[in-house]
């Protein structure tokens, strides 16, 4: 299994530590070596809205550092994966690349266009594969009804993601959930965005989008929603708590990051290895249903 440069992004290492913890544990167990990179900075996704060039420069800086170490990048955040993948596409244009490299020179860097990027779920899906994952399962999760949420940037823009999955009818996360032994549950509005980007500008929109997703998933009596991006995680769990406090009580839908679900199935310690006690919405009922009592 090849090594990857671990791209933590901005939100995961400061606000969703359990995602990092569970991802590191799952990768270690599956033989994916993650290399921490001191020089990585923000992927530039948000800054591109103010200056496309600044966004591209930040992305190129990260890619150049990974390239220097001869590594491809593994991200935890779907938007980081999208931004870096889109930047790789943009930097294939010689003129653009020359312009960016001219500026990267101030740091003694050059991006040649050799580094690739993959989101962790994609590494699990493509590099490890469903069959290999199934071999590692120790705990039976077949009683769990799990609703998958892909996240917009995991699937789009399609042009930068090289045939990962069909954005209109995605299957990869369903298969990963099945590989962990749980039952993927269909629900209305699979494509609905978490609204993470809207939160700083419009609470109204953020609450609307989160509530709609929670309503649709809870209507199908799912035990949890599984996400693969820390922003989706923060929206569905943080705003779920706020909805209970400010509007309607009675929302209870545990939100798990995919490596947490897979980690449970692989026999990881819910607290020390998968950080489930950090999750805002308690997963005690979920663990009891799966017969895992170590955390309670």
């Amino acid at each position: 299994m090849k090594d990857y440069a671990l791209f933590l992004g901005c939100t995961t290492p400061t606000q969703v530590l359990q995602y990092e913890l569970a991802s590191r544990w799952v990768c270690k167990e599956l033989g994916i070596k993650l290399i921490d990179m001191e020089d990585f900075v923000c992927c530039g996704f948000n800054q591109a809205h103010l200056s496309q060039e600044a966004g591209l420069l930040l992305a190129a800086m990260n890619l150049a550092y990974a390239e220097e170490s001869g590594l491809d990048v593994l991200t935890l955040c779907a938007a980081c994966a999208g931004q870096l993948a889109e930047s790789i596409e943009r930097l294939k244009n010689q003129e653009t690349r020359d312009k960016i490299n001219q500026k990267l020179k101030t740091l003694g860097l050059e991006y040649k266009g050799e580094t690739g990027v993959k989101h962790i779920s994609r590494v699990l899906y493509e590099d490890i594969g469903i069959a290999k994952i199934k071999e590692k399962i120790k705990i039976d999760l077949s009683h769990l009804r799990v609703a998958p949420h892909y996240g917009c940037h995991y699937l789009k823009p399609e042009s930068a993601l090289g045939g990962l999955d069909d954005p209109d009818n995605p299957k990869s996360l369903h298969q990963l959930v099945s590989a962990a032994g749980a039952k993927p549950v269909p629900y209305e509005g699979l494509h609905l965005c978490c609204g993470g980007k809207s939160y700083p500008v419009s609470e109204e929109m953020a609450f609307y989008l989160v509530k709609k997703k929670l309503d649709n998933v809870m209507a199908r009596k799912a035990d949890c929603l599984v996400v693969q991006c820390q922003t989706c995680y923060l929206m569905y769990s943080g705003l779920q708590r706020e909805i209970n406090e400010r509007f309607t009580k009675g929302y209870h839908l545990p939100i798990l990051l995919y490596p947490q679900l897979l980690g449970l199935a692989m026999g990881g310690d819910p607290k020390n290895e998968l950080g489930l006690d950090f999750n805002t919405i308690s997963s005690h009922e979920l663990l009891a249903k799966a017969g895992i009592n170590r955390m309670i």
Binding site: P13, T14, L17, L50, Q52, L57, M61, P200, S202
Partner: protein, 175 residues
């Protein structure tokens, strides 16, 4: 929902900027505007439009074509996009509206219309290299979980992004 007719004042033609469209499509990423045939598939798939009908990718594209410079760049709704990419994914003409909007936001930012949160993020990146503050509770949490320390040094990122002038962008004054 009952249909409500809105009595909108006509667009004052004398205030249109006929050069606006060419100013926008000078950016290669916004060239798609030329092949848009106004079918509205982008707006039909937009989650923001469901909540704020005032926001519509199709309408914005039309406004650019008409030269409604100030109404586009000063429109707070251009910052409401959730970046879901539905508009461009579903477009039958393969117009990348997401990229057009980025061009518009870049222009708006240079003219002082950016929301404060975006500008604050730039400041943070120049300090820590990331969108988070230099110090926080997370440091102790990381230590307790024996996760590796994060240096959070923005020196290099600052040197780099300053070359683009992004540090000069001022936030919109909220009225």
């Amino acid at each position: 929902m009952k249909y409500k007719r809105t009595n909108r004042a006509p667009i004052p033609l004398s205030e249109l900027d006929p050069g606006f469209k060419s100013e926008v499509i000078r950016h290669e990423e916004a060239r798609g505007l030329n092949v848009c045939f106004s079918c509205g598939t982008c707006t039909a798939g937009c989650p923001v439009h469901v909540i704020f009908p005032e926001y519509s990718p199709l309408k914005l594209a039309k406004m650019v074509q008409l030269g409604m410079r100030k109404d586009v760049l000063g429109n707070p709704f251009i910052w409401y996009c959730v970046t879901c990419h539905n508009c461009e994914h579903r477009c039958p003409q393969n117009v990348k509206f997401f990229n057009i909007l980025t061009v518009l936001k870049n222009m708006a930012a240079r003219e002082g219309y950016s929301p404060a949160s975006w500008v604050e993020q730039t400041q943070q990146i120049m300090q820590t290299g990331m969108i988070f503050p230099k110090r926080g509770k997370w440091e102790q949490r990381r230590e307790a979980l024996t996760l590796p320390e994060i240096k959070g040094d923005g020196t290099k990122a600052k040197r780099l992004v300053k070359l683009t002038g992004i540090d000069k962008i001022k936030a919109r004054i909220e009225s």
